[in-house]
Amino acid sequence: MLSKPKKIRQVYFDHAATTPVDKTVVKSMMPYFTDVFGNPSSLYKIGREAQSAISLARKTVAEIIHALPENIIFTGSGTESDNLAIFGIAFAHKSIGKHIISISIEHHAVLHPLEELEKQGFEITYVKVDKEGKVFTKDIIKAIRPDTILISTMYANNEIGTIEPIAEIGRELLRYRKENKTAYPYFHTDACQAAGYLDLDTEKLHVDLMTINGGKIYGPKGTGVLYVRRGVKIKPLVFGGAQEKKVRAGTENVPGIIGLAKALELAQKSGPKESERVRKLSAYLWQQVSKKIDRVKLNGPQIGEDRLPNNVNITFEDVEGEAMLLYLDEYGIMCSTGSACTSESLEPSYVLRAIGLSYEYAHGSLRFSLGKENTKEDIDYMMKYLPEIVKLLREISPVNMNSKKHPKYK
């Protein structure tokens, strides 16, 4: 029914889900699988070599985020880092208080641990975000109570790319602590999406804990970092060894750690230049879509300073996201949707719902998250087919959002 290309081009627009591993990263990891395979806790040569490789990686990561090596904890994922930060603080400081502040558009890796804590008697305040997904610093500060032990706010949102004012919250929090002569609440940020595009300097951000994920910065999956500021105590979740300062037991994933550090190093080097290039591509994508397809809406902030450079989230009125996604997949184009049909819950994206989008709008959303191998040609290729796909699905669709009332109540 739709025209088919002679050759299917593989276009990956789902970097917020995960990124391909950079070839240099793979190369840096290779020796640690087969040659330097020793357990870093072992005393003989290949054990010591593995240990020193980890130390070096720790130093690299620490320098990039402006921290000390002993502040870096290597974990098994961004999710694990978030869990360790939240449960770790909650369990270690519950005698001080059982109140935590967060925002409703956090990733599930933060929301689900918070829900679990709620079951255990903690109280969570979810501060509201505006229609672009942004939280206001004053609202966060206002929510602080004497028993608040932790604030957890994401650096950038994974679905709509909103950048939260982390440095500003951090600064205000320092002032609050000083005025009230207290060390609480601690401040955690999930920087999984921000890494590679935004400044990760923990001194500038004034964060006490920060999560980074290797699988989103062209590093290996199954690797993560939790930065914990000196003097901040957290309770471990995994016991059984003295690794990672007894906070995360288990033999270290040596190749993973090496790869993650290498990936972060590369991201740091290419940082601002790559951010600018990808932002231009994102702007081009949105410009093309809004020019060639009518009744579309950009979800989240305008493309610019307030938005993650690689994120474009668009609602196509009257069509359902999964249907579009599957059609695009036929052309080799990969992206994701906020539609319920791809979620476990049959509920459309809670992020899109939280910024005030109606069910119909949330169901018709596609997220394109760009990355370093994407070019203008990828977008041009997609734009050859996307208008046709949307047109066909609109023809099939009985919904017309232009008419205000539901047909049932005409």
Partner: protein, 227 residues
């Protein structure tokens, strides 16, 4: 793909699929037939065709849970009561589109299905025709038979056969109490705002706490839809 086993008593599709295998072994788990109907939908109402297409039965149904909505136009021969032709439109995911498309073929087949038989079509029949659907997607095909019933009821109304109108088939939310999403919708339109309000009216979910989330979802949906 395992072969389906069906017994005479039940047409329940034994083997269903998830879009993504839980074990991560397979990507696309829709059957080839689902894919074919999804990528090449049959009998849908094209733009501009609405005015030309003669119909005497029209049905529109929507399921809030997955954001699916479906419209069906039927051309029923009053003498033979066979469905001579039909058109449809569906807002929904892959399986929703495929199941409507395959339904349109089923009812047009062999000179058209007699409406009494069409009224007896079950979601399972549509699923069987498609060769199975992912577990979570079953509710999409439930819509097809409901749209069909609504369109045939409309035909009865238009031909003044009021005694033949069937009570609207709705999706049962609480199997113990036989409470449907229609009941929830009515309760919300009647002013119910919270789960407690609904439970006062319907006692829904009292025996089954696990269905509470889906009820709350319905309440939220209808509240946003109408208020």
């Amino acid at each position: 793909m395992n072969k389906k086993k069906t017994t005479k008593k039940s047409t329940k599709v034994k083997k269903s699929f998830d879009v993504r295998g839980k074990d991560g072994t397979s990507g696309w788990l829709y059957t080839d037939k689902v894919k074919d109907h999804f990528f090449n939908p049959r009998n849908f109402m094209r733009f501009g065709e609405e005015k030309k297409f003669k119909f005497n039965g029209y049905g529109r149904v929507g399921s809030p849970a997955c954001g699916d909505e479906m419209v069906l136009w039927l051309q029923i021969d009053p003498k033979t009561e066979k469905i001579k032709d039909c058109r449809w439109r569906t807002f929904g995911c892959g399986s929703a589109i495929a199941s409507t498309s395959v339904l349109s073929e089923m009812i047009k087949r062999k000179g058209g299905m007699v409406i009494d038989k069409a009224l007896k079509l079950k979601p399972q029949d549509i699923m069987k025709e498609l060769g199975g659907l992912p577990d979570r997607k079953v509710h999409c095909s439930v819509l097809g038979d409901k749209a069909l019933q609504a369109a045939i009821n409309d035909y009865f109304r238009k031909t003044k056969q009021h005694d033949r109108i069937m009570v609207e088939g709705a999706k049962v939310v609480d199997p113990d109490l036989k409470i449907t999403d229609k009941d929830i919708e009515d309760a919300v339109l009647d002013g119910a705002q919270t789960l407690e309000d609904i439970q006062k009216k319907l006692k829904v979910g009292a025996s089954k706490p696990d269905i509470i989330p889906s009820i709350e979802e319905l309440i939220r949906f209808y509240r946003e839809k109408y208020f």
